[in-house]
């Protein structure tokens, strides 16, 4: 290892990054993805237009109705129309849901009999429909505890588990940490994918092939600038998350930082491997996006919790590093167990192993010869 050689290469890389304006991408892309997705993807539904047909007109049914009126998630209208006419409102897109309280609602509850509340949901957007449905369940559950003073039998209504650590039901809390895991997988990978293939495309790779520079010196020289520049993104993204999206941070910052650095190494390692096997910049970028963005999104736990996955998707999720990192991320942001949790310890170890293997593979596959 000759420090002078590596230093010269690093200096050259940095000069090029600044003069080719690639540096803008290094800092613009991660923040842009976070802001676009953070604001763009809304699982949360507010002001859902719910039409309530109260056939009971009792004390209990009014308690239930008032619960909907108090909630910011619903804009209820109590109507006295026929069911078929109400359904027509959904077709006309004037309402999102119809809640039907049957005429014997109060009487049956008092007698300890089960009662059924009818709910029609506009399921044109299935995710939105599921969300709205779960909100309604939540409101009914709340109302039922109040109505029966805790004496009503449980088990009739269950809450969706994804809201467990998100009591405020804030979408940002569920989304933003997951997005950090996505961004830090995609952005460094794209940069490092360009680094080697760029020289292959241009021809400057000959300077490496034909000189006595060692393979690991070359890799260190290539990855160090990318690593240092992207490390800053760990902090930038943290600030966006906590100040702009107001996500709470309950865990240890040191763990967040350390795991982030390891994760960037993994991402750089993926990009570097792609850079080694491809011949053109365009192929390298497309391949990197496919290999990082899709799994980063699908198996990050943003869309679906890993625990809710089954069979193939469960195995797939465990193959990609994003799951392990996101587990630690969610912990540091929302739970705060830190390294006390054995799962976190294990996952941090797995991430370290990933980084090590990827960098080793890079040195193994990199050849100082034309292909």
């Amino acid at each position: 290892m000759r420090a002078g050689v590596i230093k010269a290469y690093i200096l050259k890389e940095l000069t090029e990054l600044f003069r080719t304006r690639l540096i803008i991408m290094v800092y613009l892309m991660p923040s842009m993805i976070l802001l676009l997705f953070g604001y763009g993807i809304r699982m949360e539904v507010t002001h859902a237009r719910i039409v309530i047909l109260d056939y009971d007109q009792s004390h209990y049914s009014q308690i239930l109705t008032s619960k909907f009126e108090d909630s910011i998630y619903f804009d209820p209208t109590v109507m006295k129309i026929e069911e078929s006419k109400a359904l027509h409102l959904i077709k006309q897109a004037k309402a999102d849901m119809i809640l039907i309280i049957p005429s014997s609602f109060e009487k049956r509850l008092i007698h300890g009999q089960k009662t059924e509340i009818g709910l029609f949901v506009d399921a044109a957007f299935p995710t939105r429909a599921t969300t709205m449905e779960s909100y309604v369940q939540g409101v009914i559950f709340q109302a039922s505890t109040e109505v029966g003073e805790g004496k009503l039998p449980k088990g009739m209504i269950t809450l969706n588990s994804r809201n467990l650590f998100n009591q405020a039901m804030r979408d940002e809390n569920a989304m933003v940490p997951g997005l950090i895991g996505l961004v830090l997988l995609v952005a460094p990978a794209i940069l490092s994918a360009l680094l080697i293939v760029k020289e292959k495309e241009k021809g400057t790779i000959f300077n490496f092939y034909a000189s006595p520079i060692r393979k690991h010196e070359f890799i260190i020289a290539k990855l160090t600038p990318a690593f240092l520049l992207h490390s800053l993104n760990i902090f930038i993204l943290f600030l966006w998350a906590t100040y702009l999206f107001e996500v709470p941070f309950r865990g240890s910052f040191a763990l967040y930082w350390f795991a982030g650095e390891i994760y960037i190494l993994i991402s750089l390692g993926i990009g570097m491997l792609i850079s080694i096997i491809t011949r053109s910049q365009i192929a390298a970028v497309v391949l990197t996006v496919i290999v990082t963005l899709l799994p980063g999104f699908l198996y990050s736990g943003i869309i679906l919790p890993i625990s809710a996955m089954d069979h193939e998707s469960y195995i797939m999720a465990h193959l990609f590093p994003v799951m392990y990192y996101n587990h630690i991320l969610y912990d540091t942001f929302l739970i705060g167990e830190g390294l006390d949790s054995p799962t976190n310890q294990l996952y941090l170890g797995i991430l370290l192993l990933y980084a090590f293997i990827l960098l080793m593979l890079g040195t193994l596959f990199l050849k100082k010869e034309l292909r």
Binding site: A8, Y9, K12, F206
Partner: protein, 539 residues
């Protein structure tokens, strides 16, 4: 005892043999030249020696033998490689000074007085002393090549491998590059392996290796090689029909005695004689009469002060030119001189920024003016515009249909050209499988199917082997004589000016010469060849 020895080196890529069983010996202080067409195996052999490509066989440098790139690591301290391509190893956004810093650092050089003196000497020799702060991307092609060379020389390599350092570079820069090499060879005792596409440069080499289709067909000093073919070279005569012979550029070549006086051969002769010895058929090509009748005006193309600008950069600066009927005009210049831009303006592929253009006597003001003339213009682009997924026949039929020629007429003409130009056996092959020379011949067919009056050819001969180039010029000459066609052809081979009627020389977007060929010789009585004439314009 030799300092560099190659024993039966073979390089192949999958099934294709790039160079077969090459052997050579060299001593310190020698310049060894590799001469041959693109794809003849020069680069592959250079990569093997430089330890950047896999090979079979053995290479020994100063007692260290290696058989793979990995083993070659041991001698990389001593090697300097400058691969093919203008400015290929340079980083566009780094300045000249930063390049030298970088190359010094990756070679782990000590920055002592000796280093700085040597660095300044190199900068001085390359004429870059005043451009230390300029970014490499903003240098001219010649300056880029000189910078690449001094970056390669910075660690004082004892084995210098240069792959076509002068191709596409202006004559003055080429001369300067050779001066640097000559200086380094004597002051440092370096072995220099250099490949070139220019035969004229052969005189500067101690030993020449001729490459043809993956083999070294001859080796020796320039006079030795020329002597070896002296007995086969005659003044031009018509050949005996049943025996094989080949005529080109005022000379005829045959393996049996011809009834003519002997002539002084050039290095090109080696390729012709080699082809004759290998019994390669060198088909005599015949172009039939034009099928349509046309009246051709005296002046077919006239450009007045044509100008093209890309931002601040003036690619063509007020260029006047005239193309008369039945005339071959060569548009010459180094890479980036503005040759292609000019042709593209004539064709309407680039809008004209300033100036007037007349084609076949008509002023060209809009696209409509061109549309009627399209049927009378043929064009072959720099990278032959062929469809790789279609066979030769399908390609040609497609071009015929574009010109609204009936299928029957088209097939008849295609068949006729294919046999006349000697590629009938390749009609059902894909262009990618064929040598460049064959592709070039059927590209010109595509441009001739509609029997045009003017033909524009953009660098049709670069990378094509000597024989194919000779045959190509024979075709052009026939077209001129039989069809009365006018041809504007661009090339960076200054020697090809010899085959033109008139030449126009461009330098950095400006016309510096526009003269009949014999007139040029009259004006420069001391010049031995065109290289020397053009050098005067550049100085």
């Amino acid at each position: 005892m030799f300092d560099l020895e190659l024993k039966n080196v073979t390089v192949h890529y999958k099934d294709i043999v790039a160079i077969n069983n090459a052997s050579l010996e060299a001593k310190h202080g020698e310049i060894i030249g590799f001469i041959g067409a693109d794809g003849a195996g020069k680069s592959s052999l250079m990569h093997a020696i430089a330890g950047v490509g896999r090979f079979k066989g053995e290479i020994i440098y100063e007692g260290t033998d290696y058989h793979s790139p990995k083993e070659a690591e041991r001698i990389k301290e001593n090697i300097g490689l400058m691969p093919q391509g203008i400015g290929l190893v340079l980083y566009e956004t780094l300045t000249v000074g930063e390049h030298l810093e970088f190359f010094a650092a990756i070679r782990n050089l000590k920055k002592n007085n000796d280093f700085f003196t040597y660095k300044n000497k190199l900068l001085q020799m390359a004429g870059l002393l005043h451009f230390v702060d300029r970014e490499a991307g903003k240098l001219s092609g010649g300056m880029m090549q000189k910078l690449s060379l001094i970056c390669t020389l910075l660690h004082r390599p004892k084995l210098l491998i240069l792959d076509e350092p002068t191709t596409g570079v202006d004559p003055l820069s080429r001369m300067e590059l050779w001066e640097i090499l000559d200086d380094i060879r004597s002051s440092e005792g370096t072995i220099i392996l250099v490949s070139t596409a220019y035969m004229q440069e052969a005189a500067k080499m101690d030993k020449i290796l001729l490459f043809d289709e993956g083999e070294i067909i001859a080796g020796g000093s320039s006079p030795e090689l020329i002597d070896s073919v002296r007995k086969y070279t005659y003044e031009e005569v018509s050949c005996d029909n049943d025996k094989v012979c080949f005529s080109f550029d005022k000379r005829s070549y045959a393996l049996y005695p011809l009834a003519a006086k002997y002539a002084e051969p050039t290095l090109d002769a080696l390729f012709f004689v080699n082809a004759l010895q290998k019994k390669h058929t060198l088909p005599t090509m015949e172009i039939g009469e034009r099928q349509s009748t046309v009246t051709i005006p005296k002046v077919v193309m006239e450009a007045k002060a044509l100008t093209k600008q890309f931002g601040d950069f003036v690619a063509n600066d007020h260029i006047d030119m005239q193309l008369q009927s039945a005339q071959i005009v060569g548009l010459l210049g180094a890479n980036g001189a503005g040759k292609t831009t000019f042709i593209k303006m004539l064709l309407g592929l680039y809008p004209i920024d300033e100036g007037e253009l007349y084609l076949l006597g008509k002023p060209i003001l809009s696209g409509n003016d061109r549309r009627e003339l399209k049927a009378q213009i043929g064009y072959v682009s720099q990278h032959f515009a062929l469809y790789k997924e279609m066979t030769v026949r399908e390609n040609l039929l497609y071009f015929a249909r574009m010109h609204a020629i009936g299928t029957e007429t088209a097939l008849r003409r295609i068949e006729k050209y294919a046999s006349a130009l000697g590629y009938l056996q390749y009609m059902d092959a894909l262009p990618g499988e064929l040598p460049l020379g064959i592709n070039q011949r059927f590209s010109i067919t595509a441009a001739l199917l509609h029997e045009p009056v003017i033909l524009f050819l953009d660098e049709p001969t670069s990378g094509v082997d000597t024989i194919a180039r000779a045959q190509f010029w024979q075709i052009l000459e026939m077209l001129k004589v039989k069809w009365g066609i006018s041809i504007l052809i661009t090339t960076h081979y200054m020697s090809e000016a010899e085959y033109c009627d008139r030449v126009v020389l461009l330098k950095e977007g400006v016309k510096v010469a526009d003269e009949y060929v014999d007139e040029l010789y009259r004006q420069h009585p001391h010049a031995k060849n065109f290289e020397e004439i053009f050098l005067e314009y550049y100085q």
